[in-house]
Symmetry: C2
DNA sequence: TTGACATATTCCTGTATCGACATATGATAG
DNA sequence: CTATCATATGTCGATACAGGAATATGTCAA
């Protein structure tokens, strides 16, 4: 078996940094044209279009035709599975008890480093 | 340029379903042996060991030698970057305003489907 | 129709999986 | 020391990228 497709999953789609960048850009400013995205991305147009195709295929972005341009917009709900998976882990590092634990471990590590 | 390494990033490491499964298993029950993980995973031991190696290399899990066994434990903080990236998007789908917006879009889509 | 512009698609190359299988390493008991 | 158990590592085959370059598609204006 080989590596999973980038289009198989929100997790895989978003594993690529440039695609995350696109998501952030679309979240910051409202619907944008491919050209606008290219303008703010240091990546050639074909590459951007391909990334957009991946994001489209997993439902992260929507397209709307507007003359010869295409307006891409973010579909935030699509990121919910990612959020739902990672969110429960938050309590494992925010609890007071855990912060004490980490502090102790850190001190132990420093102690060990001196010997 | 090819696809990024699975060990290059928490995002890439966690893009693989089996590795997410391991993370969940380690979060549920405390430190576990490779054998225990294999026992609850429908995947051969070498494959599990390799996934653990990937998770180790990005700091998602820690190992501790215990005789001939190795105890793997979760390092939850390592997931923080993932959480920090996705969390801001939550408000885009939980706000009352946005729920109304989605509702309207859905109705428009149904209307369009009838025509 | 023709040309110009915006975007998508195709082809190519180098690289990195993932799992199965076989084998190496390492620790412990007897 | 040797056999055994737990885990790690290496090899192989099929697969899938990501970006560059070239080209196709589609839309508008004159």
């Amino acid at each position: 078996m080989a590596r999973a497709t980038t289009t198989s999953d929100v997790f895989n789609a978003v594993a690529e940094p440039k695609r995350r960048e696109i998501v952030v850009l679309l979240a910051a400013s409202k619907p944008q044209t491919v050209g606008e995205l290219v303008g703010s991305m240091d990546l050639a147009q074909p590459a951007v279009s391909k990334h957009l195709a991946v994001l489209r295929s997993v439902g992260i972005v929507n397209v709307e035709k507007r003359g010869k341009e295409r307006l891409y917009s973010l579909n935030p709900q699509s990121l919910k599975p990612l959020h739902d998976w990672v969110h429960p882990f938050e309590k494992l590092w925010t609890s007071q008890l855990d912060r004490i634990k980490r502090r102790a471990e850190k001190m132990a590590a420093e102690r060990a480093a001196k010997n």
